[in-house]
Symmetry: C2
Subunit: 162 residues, 2 copies
């Protein structure tokens, strides 16, 4: 069974933003980080913003980051939004033409199974998934360096001289 490419990229974006720990990233940076073309990423960012899971702002100090709701969002929530309307089998789609469609009990069984799939993912908080081992090299590759160290350096520079 296949999740859509849209679901795939949406989850990658949220995981990358979670790894960014509040740093705003440009759409292009995100595209590089998730290995997906800019236009696909832009479409997903718009979708995620519409759902309130990311904040996107333009301008010199703009960029994309997880919102508070996004930091609490789960894989189940996001996939219900990205996959919810996708037909699992042909009879569920508008052009469906299965001759066995009438009073078919398979449909109900499949619907229950899909619900079980989502239910396993409902408690999986996306922002708790990334690890340093996963994200470290990615952010170095993006030229953003180890972010925690960047923050420490910025903080140190603001301390009064002893």
């Amino acid at each position: 069974m296949r999740l859509t490419a849209f679901s795939d990229v949406s989850l990658r974006i949220m995981m990358l933003l979670a790894g960014a720990e509040g740093e705003k990233l440009s759409t292009q940076t995100i595209a590089n980080g998730v290995g997906t073309p800019y236009n696909h990423v832009a479409k997903s960012v718009a979708f995620l913003a519409n759902h309130g899971w990311v904040s996107a702002s333009r301008g010199r100090f703009g960029g994309v980051c997880l919102s508070e709701a996004g930091s609490a969002a789960t894989v189940g929530q996001v996939l219900r939004a990205t996959e919810g309307d996708i037909p699992m089998v042909e009879c569920e789609s508008h052009e469906g033409s299965c001759p066995l469609d009438q009073s078919c009990r398979l449909k109900g069984a499949l619907a229950k199974a899909r619900e079980a799939f989502f239910a396993v993912l409902d408690p999986v908080v996306i922002s708790e998934l990334p690890s340093q081992r996963q994200m470290g090299p990615v952010f170095v590759e993006l030229g953003l360096g180890p972010l925690a160290q960047t923050k420490k350096l910025e903080h140190a520079q603001k301390l009064p001289q002893s």
Copy 2:
């Protein structure tokens, strides 16, 4: 999320054969009954026969029917066989190129969710799914008539004259 067309047709074929209650059907009849091209049906029949779920024989009295194992087979069993190797997300496929692939915890969560999906379908016996309401019109359309009545007629003709 989408099941493959191969899964879709395989389930339809088994449901149709279950509705045929032991009657052997030709591959062409099955193709008409499930609304799928002959070659796709033939491929699935070969697969189902390899798994021991259908018996397929050639010749004048040949045809395809559910085997004893097929009569007990469940949706979960069949889908594990038809979907088991299908990558759910890009990183699972050979050409996968997700930059976040390293130590990714999302993969494990998705694998658990897929297992939950199959688990719901593991007890659903395919041969218990079809109903008269579902199959009746299909078999009339196939020119096979209401099969139960056909059997009663054949049986009555064999009875000694009273």
